[in-house]
């Protein structure tokens, strides 16, 4: 059961297919314009797909094809949406906002208010029941909006960058609240922040240009990314390469011996943290390390460290070392990576995802 989703939307060039098991939270990551919010709108019923089908706990959300067009009304989908802005109805009090959903589903006024009060207590703003939205802070409003979304007991909760519009000082507590209410709940969360994905999601799906480019368990995608975007999210260097007879050969000349049994020619990526790359003017390749010689492209000052860009890699060095070595763009350096610091894995990871999610049909 859970959610199965497959949809194409021609005018936005979106073609996405995924599943979410009951009780599981899926994070959808990706750059701006990747189609993340489009996916949410398709789920919520605010957009109709060109073609595709989605089912939630056995009932059809939409089924659109050449000869069929089933579109369930948003109100009958059992899906709640929490957006970046709280979007509380400005003419209703906090309590009435939360009671709106139950009331709309036919719950008598008194019972609906009791339910609403329960949810407001649960999200920690019970004392604000009679406030109007304009009397609430951004964080308070978002808590009320969360209570409103949950008060209808949705089969699926959609969260569209729920923390993006909040003051940074209150995002940690709000994130913890979300973590609490998402336990055991089927949810899809769109976010820019890998931290959200780590703390809130069981699995991650990376969209780019309307297609899924990565997907898998959160820890898996964020420690062993296979795309540049995934690597940037995880703060890792990513080197594309392939299996040679002896090991991994990267596009930038890095070679690392491997002991696996993968066939020669298999597409592989190497991931390494910038802090694990040491920079020197010259060094000797040892048995336990790979060395790439390259000219420095750029030197980036980042507070208490200096990031050196060379050979498509980023390396972090201490400012004092950077000064002592005279690291400026244009000079040649050796970038040294100990074999133990590099992680090498195949670019395709169907075997890890077995059945839970599959890459988009486009790429």
């Amino acid at each position: 059961m859970g959610l199965t989703f497959a949809a194409q939307l021609a005018e936005r060039d979106v073609d996405v297919r995924f599943e979410v098991a009951t009780g599981e939270t899926l994070a959808v990551l990706g750059p701006n314009g990747a189609g993340k919010s489009t996916v949410l709108s398709l789920l919520a019923g605010l957009l109709a797909p060109t073609s595709g089908r989605a089912d939630l706990e056995g009932s059809v959300l939409f089924d659109v094809g050449a000869s069929r067009r089933t579109l369930t009304e948003p109100r009958e989908r059992g899906i709640s949406l929490l957006a970046q802005e709280a979007l509380l109805f400005p003419h209703l009090s906090a309590l009435e906002n939360v009671a709106f959903g139950p009331r709309s589903r036919g719950v008598p006024r008194t019972a609906a208010r009791a339910t609403a009060l329960g949810w407001l207590e649960r999200v920690g703003v019970a004392e604000l029941v009679h406030r109007r939205p304009h009397q609430l802070s951004g964080g308070q409003a978002q808590r009320v909006a969360l209570a409103r979304a949950l008060a209808v007991e949705p089969s699926l909760l959609l969260l569209d960058e729920p923390l993006a519009a909040l003051d940074v000082s209150i995002t940690p507590t709000m994130r913890l609240l979300l973590r609490e209410v998402l336990q055991g709940r089927t949810a899809v969360i769109v976010t820019h922040d890998p931290l959200d994905a780590f703390l809130l999601a069981d699995r991650v799906l990376v969209l780019e240009g309307g297609r899924i480019v990565e997907s898998g368990a959160t820890a898996e995608v964020l420690t062993r990314p296979v795309t540049a975007f995934g690597a940037r999210l995880a703060g890792l260097n990513l080197v594309q390469g392939r299996r040679t007879r002896t090991g991994f050969a990267g596009g930038n000349g890095i070679e690392v011996p491997l002991a696996d049994r993968l066939p020669e020619g298999t597409a592989l990526v190497l991931a390494v943290r910038p802090a694990a790359i040491s920079v020197s003017l010259s060094s000797h390749p040892g048995a336990d390390a790979a060395v790439v010689r390259a000219e420095i492209d750029d030197v980036e000052h980042r507070g208490d460290l200096v990031r050196i860009h060379a050979a498509g890699l980023a390396a972090d060095v201490a400012p004092a070392d950077a000064v002592a070595l005279g690291l400026v763009p244009g000079i040649a350096v050796d970038l040294r990576i100990r074999h133990g610091d590099a992680t090498v894995y195949p670019t395709r990871r169907e075997q890890q995802d077995s059945g839970r999610s599959t890459a988009g049909s486009g790429r």
Partner: protein
């Protein structure tokens, strides 16, 4: 030293003052001409009372017609899109710029005895000619665009995001309309209705052309003023003042309803509202 709140070039202030005088001075001049000794008898004469009562009655009816038909029209214009919508909107707003006499002639050719619908109406036993109904139709015709215009603008400003949230929370279309859309645009609806009422109250040309002029039936206050002017300019001036006072009261009431005043959120939300749901 205090700073002036708005630093405008002085000539702007001068021109604004001249413009203000241009509007206010004629009203003052008229008030100065009022024969205050006979004011009360002049404005409480039988014909004057009949005209004022008829004006209030018909203007209220016309306003109700405007609300009943104008709200759905504004919703259709603001929340749907179809071929020819822009042309339709222009046509709906036409009475705003049309000389009222032209409106009267058009109504005559539509609802008159020999008009487009005249035969049908006659068969149904409805006789609009020279009736109070004709006055209400004239007033509604010229007043409707005010309501549609202000409401459509408000609906577009509020956007569809709240309605989308309501729908995902399980509300039917009717519930969304009743509990979200209409409350959100209520200030605009009220001020639009008040403007329509004021426009109906001042209606003259279309009524004169289409409905005629008979005390207690079709002779509204503007028509009474026009007629009194022939023989009793003092009465005309006194009644004009009454009309001005009623209009000022109505416009004042409309301004008390501040657009989204108490509803305005603490932080600016307008740009967010303008982003339609489908930009996601």
């Amino acid at each position: 030293m205090e700073l002036t709140p708005a630093r405008l070039p002085r000539w702007i202030l001068v021109l604004a003052a001249v413009g203000g005088l241009f509007v206010v001075l004629p009203l003052v001049a008229m008030a100065l001409r009022v024969d205050w000794v006979h004011f009360v008898p002049l404005v409480t004469s039988e014909s004057a009372r009949a005209a004022l009562l008829l004006s209030l009655r018909t203007s209220i009816s016309a306003t109700m017609l405007c609300v009943v038909f104008g709200v759905p029209m504004a919703l259709v214009l603001a929340r749907t899109s179809f071929r020819g919508q822009r042309i339709l909107r222009s046509l709906v707003l036409l009475p705003l710029v049309l000389p009222p006499v032209v409106g009267g002639i058009a109504l005559l050719y539509t609802f008159g005895r020999r008009g487009l619908l005249g035969g049908t109406l006659e068969a149904l036993g409805v006789d609009i000619a020279f009736s109070t109904t004709a006055v209400v139709l004239s007033q509604a015709f010229v007043a409707l665009p005010f309501l549609v215009l202000s409401l459509e603008g408000a609906l577009r400003t509020v956007g569809t995001r709240y309605e989308a949230v309501g729908a995902t929370l399980g509300a039917t279309r009717w519930t969304v309309l009743r509990r979200i859309t209409l409350p959100l645009v209520l200030p605009a609806l009220i001020s639009g209705a008040v403007l329509s009422f004021a426009r109906a109250l001042g209606e003259f040309g279309a009524t004169l052309t289409f409905a005629g002029s008979l005390q207690g039936t079709t002779r509204t206050l503007p028509l009474e003023i026009y007629l009194q002017r022939e023989t009793d300019p003092d009465a005309a001036v006194a009644l004009s003042l009454i009309l001005v006072v009623v209009a000022i009261a109505v416009v004042g009431a409309a301004h008390r309803v501040r657009p989204l005043g108490s509803l305005a959120p603490a932080r600016p939300v307008a740009p967010a509202l303008r982003r339609a749901v489908d930009t996601h």
